[in-house]
């Protein structure tokens, strides 16, 4: 039972106590925290240029500074939109597990995650709607309804949550302290980074424990299927940061071709590697992935 795995983890109990205390101490009212000026200046970067999908690429070299400013706006709206959809999908899964027998130990902490993620979703959505006039739609299509029960489902939910948070945090950490960005943009990113450092600490613990549980109960072919899924999830997460709709909104001609060129550009692959660096190191150290490559 997962109950045994989590319940017997002394270290997890200590960490949960510490994280709950920290969550309470850091508690803030997001609805009053931000100023939300009516508009943000258009002729500047909305996203650190080094974090844009086109950074260092051939496509990027063909754009004027004005086009780059525009693209940085729409890529940042895409990034926050992905946050909105990712949070909705993942807190739904956490809610499905709170106060169930298997997650008794972590339920107190789940209240904090759910509450904080609800607030994150609110400020990301507000940013998109106010400064972009829209949230880019979620393009994940649920063909294959995975089961929501059992060790593989539990592991994958928390692994996806952790990996999603680590990818997002790569951006938040850097944009939160980037002096070139507008204070509103910096603040949204800095605040999120602050909450997510707790979530990531928890995520690594629970993912490590749930993997041990899964590995003990599965044969090699089942584990291989989980690994293949995780790698596909990581590839998909990185690709979703390159949205043809953002290229179109920035006025870049042939947005699908531009996207394909960016995805095939070695400079873009360097960015992807940097984004995933700490995550794949963790996955390999835990034996979750066998190598650092996420190729199919």
């Amino acid at each position: 039972m997962t109950a045994t795995v989590l319940d017997s983890a002394e270290r997890l109990k200590d960490i949960l106590d510490r994280l709950v205390a920290k969550s309470e101490a850091d508690y803030y009212n997001p609805y009053q925290l931000f100023q939300w000026p009516d508009t943000l200046p258009q002729e500047q970067y909305w996203m650190s240029p080094e974090l844009m999908s086109v950074h260092g690429t051939e496509v990027g070299a063909e754009l004027t500074e004005e086009q780059l400013h525009k693209l940085s706006k729409w890529e940042s709206v895409n990034f926050y939109s992905l946050n909105v959809h990712g949070i909705r999908e993942l807190i739904t899964e956490v809610i499905a597990r709170i106060h169930t027998k298997e997650f008794k130990l972590t339920s107190e902490y789940f209240h904090h995650i759910i509450g904080e993620e609800n607030e994150h979703m609110w400020f990301f959505a507000r940013f998109c709607n106010q400064y972009g006039g829209k949230i880019y739609p979620d393009l994940t299509f649920k063909f294959d309804q995975a089961s929501t029960d059992g060790p593989a489902a539990h592991f994958l939910v928390f692994a996806r949550l952790l990996l999603f948070e680590e990818i997002v945090d790569f951006f938040n950490k850097r944009m939160g302290e980037d002096e070139r960005l507008d204070p509103t943009i910096r603040k949204v990113n800095a605040i999120h980074h602050q909450d997510e450092s707790r979530h990531v600490a928890f995520g690594r613990q629970i993912v490590s424990l749930l993997w041990k549980d899964l590995a003990a109960k599965s044969d090699e072919s089942e584990l291989e299927a989980v690994r293949a899924y995780l790698k596909a999830y990581l590839r998909r997460s990185l690709e979703s940061l390159v949205n043809p709709a953002a290229f179109r909104d920035a006025g870049i001609p042939e947005p699908y071709k531009a996207r394909n060129r960016v995805l095939a550009d070695p400079a873009h692959a360097d960015l992807d590697r940097a984004i995933l660096k700490r995550s794949v190191k963790f996955l390999v150290a835990e034996g979750i992935l066998l190598t650092e490559s996420i190729d199919a």
Partner: protein
């Protein structure tokens, strides 16, 4: 344009699944995991680029993507796939 649309869809799907040598017009792409949730967006973009129309997921269902025939019918002017 229809036959070329069908060929185009099949070529794209086969490139993603080198273990297959052919895809029948009525093969269930979802059951056979030729299309799955994680790979879907890239296929959607390919269809959008080819048809020149953005597709809103509010207007489509998984059934529209079930077979090559249903994709051709729904997104390309699928007259000669019956």
């Amino acid at each position: 344009m229809t036959q070329s649309a069908v060929d185009f869809i099949i070529d794209y799907l086969l490139a993603k699944r080198p273990d297959l040598t052919s895809i029948d017009l009525d093969l269930d792409l979802i059951e056979n995991r030729i299309l799955d949730s994680l790979g879907f967006v890239n296929f959607l973009y390919v269809v959008e680029e080819h048809t020149g129309t953005e597709i809103s997921l509010d207007d489509v269902t998984p059934e529209d993507f079930r077979t090559v025939r249903s994709i051709a019918k729904r997104f390309f002017d699928g007259a000669d796939v019956g």
